[in-house]
């Protein structure tokens, strides 16, 4: 347990110090915030509840911020090989699963920080703009319910996939995936957008604003993953996203343990 915390803590510390982390994500957040059209959250009608306004912001940031998140996490595991720290880490009495879990937790926590900061800035702006102090509270809630599960989902894949397909290729594929799996209309092509596995948070946003945000619940491919948005389907979506995001880590942990045992 103390080893897990140590890996998580130092992974967090190293990642938080990277300027590229903050630059990439805050730049994306700023661009999308400043270029939002009149359907953007800034223009939600006056008097709208804080819940709706901040859910709108989380969805807006969700269009691009997770892309930056996936980019910066993509080299966290391959970098140990590049830097040459792997042999030392493997010589320490800590199993590969603990190392992976620690890197996942530390990487997720540190890389999610700019997303939280973007939400807090938006919440602060809305608090002043609309004179509603609940905005700030909902900024945090919306971050936790809408953005964080999607980021956890992305984190598992962003850490592990580059070990197999290299970080640059992962980054390219990931951008394509993000638009296909979140924003492509499901009637247009078979797609994961609008399903419980859409990491942009289609379900929680739809539930919070009381209408379909993007395509949640819209009929399409894999219909069993497209229930009507409700409290229950939001919960299922959040749990599914986190669990599916852990799958690549479980696979990698099993492979690494086996590699340590047999030549």
């Amino acid at each position: 347990m103390s080893e897990l915390l140590a890996v998580g803590r130092y992974e967090f510390r190293m990642q938080v110090r990277k300027r590229s982390l903050w630059l990439a994500m805050l730049l994306l957040a700023a661009v999308i915030a400043l270029t939002q059209g009149d359907r953007g959250p800034r223009y939600t009608e006056a008097g709208a509840p804080a819940r709706e306004v901040m859910a709108g912001w989380a969805l807006l940031f969700g269009i691009v911020v997770p892309i930056g998140f996936g980019m910066v996490l993509a080299d966290r595991l391959v970098r140990d090989r590049r830097l040459g720290t792997t042999a030392l880490l493997e010589s320490l009495p800590v199993g590969p699963r603990v190392l992976l879990a620690g890197k996942y937790l530390g990487g997720l926590a540190s890389s999610a920080l700019p997303g939280l900061l973007a939400m807090l800035v938006a919440g602060g702006y809305e608090t002043v703009h609309r004179g509603d102090p609940l905005m700030l509270a909902w900024a945090v809630l919306a971050f936790g319910l809408i953005m964080l599960p999607g980021l956890a989902f992305v984190a598992g894949f962003a850490l592990v996939s580059p070990l197999v397909i290299s970080a640059p290729l992962f980054r390219v594929l990931f951008v394509g995936y993000w638009f296909w799996g979140n924003m492509l209309p499901p009637e247009f092509l078979p797609s994961l957008s609008g399903t419980l596995l859409s990491p942009i948070g289609d379900y929680p946003v739809s539930w919070l604003i009381g209408e379909t945000a993007l395509y949640a619940g819209v009929p399409g491919w894999l219909s069993f993953l497209r229930p009507a948005p409700s409290g229950v389907s939001v919960l299922v979506s959040v749990v599914l996203l986190v669990l599916v995001g852990l799958l690549p880590l479980v696979v990698a942990g099993t492979v690494f343990s086996r590699q340590r045992r047999t030549a």
Partner: protein, 290 residues
């Protein structure tokens, strides 16, 4: 912790890096010599539990390294300096050592911090202890690596070319440090610098082509050069036609060659007392790598 290997082997695809290695390291300071690609790093990686052996037996302090439990038991008491250790550029040496210490199970925060500071002092890095390691020179990085290997008072220290990249003063300082530690520990040291072994080790093994071609005391290895070490002075500048030249110095009376050869390399060759390097070269000539 003593090291025992029997029939230890390891292949990488078609390359056999270790051929049935039988080695017994009792304790104290033990040198491991050998040419590039001889298999030293492969052996050390197996001993550190980083690489699974391909076949044969490995026991360290009685623990079987082919089992998970044995590996963990050894790793708890191990200090390992890999040949090409990388560091995290965004951490300071103090943080890096703290991290490694935590993973070694040094859970008492105060004791760990104190040990980290002592080790930084020992490798003369106290002044930069709070600076990020990005941009550290090769020798500074090496010293961070050495310090982390000593964390947690390990019973077995495996250091793969620890003195490569250190300036002469630092090298001398570090090898006496290691020799001082070897008292009640086992220190396995691989190096290309024969002098490091000559100055610190009682015992040594020589590897060539994945096999151990010599194990024994360092004085016995020196004796391998007896009757095969010669000095030849030539005025033409051309090296003697037979033997391996280990040194050549130009002086006013001509070029002084030191030559390893089983027969006298010329009529004017004078037998010389061998050094460890001469013994090593003589051994390698007799048992060439396959």
């Amino acid at each position: 912790m003593d090291i025992q290997t029997t029939g230890l082997s390891r292949r990488f695809g078609k390359v056999t890096a270790l051929h049935s290695v039988d080695l017994s390291v009792p304790g104290g300071m033990y040198g491991l010599l050998g040419a590039n690609g001889a298999g030293k790093t492969t052996l050390m990686r197996i001993l550190a539990g980083v690489l699974p052996p391909g076949g044969g037996e490995v026991r360290v302090g009685g623990h079987d390294l082919t089992t998970g439990a044995g590996r963990t038991a050894v790793q708890r008491r191990l200090g390992y300096l890999p040949q090409d250790l990388g560091l995290y550029p965004d951490l300071t040496p103090r943080e890096f050592l703290d991290y490694v210490g935590l993973l070694k199970g040094l859970d008492d925060t105060r004791a760990r911090r104190q040990q980290v500071d002592e080790l930084l002092e020992l490798v003369a890095l106290s002044e930069v202890a709070g600076r990020r390691m990005k941009g550290f020179s090769g020798g500074m990085r090496r010293r961070v690596g050495i310090a982390q290997a000593l964390l947690g008072d390990p019973a077995l220290i495996v250091v793969d070319e620890p003195t490569a990249g250190l300036d002469p003063e630092e090298r001398v300082r570090f090898r006496s440090l290691l020799a001082g530690l070897a008292g009640h520990r086992t220190v396995l040291l691989s190096t290309h610098i024969v002098e490091d072994v000559a100055q610190t080790c009682q015992h040594a093994a020589v590897m060539a082509g994945g096999r151990v071609v010599y194990t024994g005391t360092v004085p016995d290895l020196v004796r391998m050069g007896e009757g095969a070490t010669w000095e030849v002075v030539t005025t033409t500048g051309a090296p003697p036609p037979v033997g391996v030249v280990v040194s050549a110095i130009s002086r006013t009376d001509g070029t002084h060659y030191r030559v390893i050869s089983s027969t006298a390399p010329g009529a004017h060759a004078v037998p010389a007392a061998p050094s460890l390097e001469d013994g090593y070269v003589a051994l390698m000539q007799r048992a060439p790598a396959q």
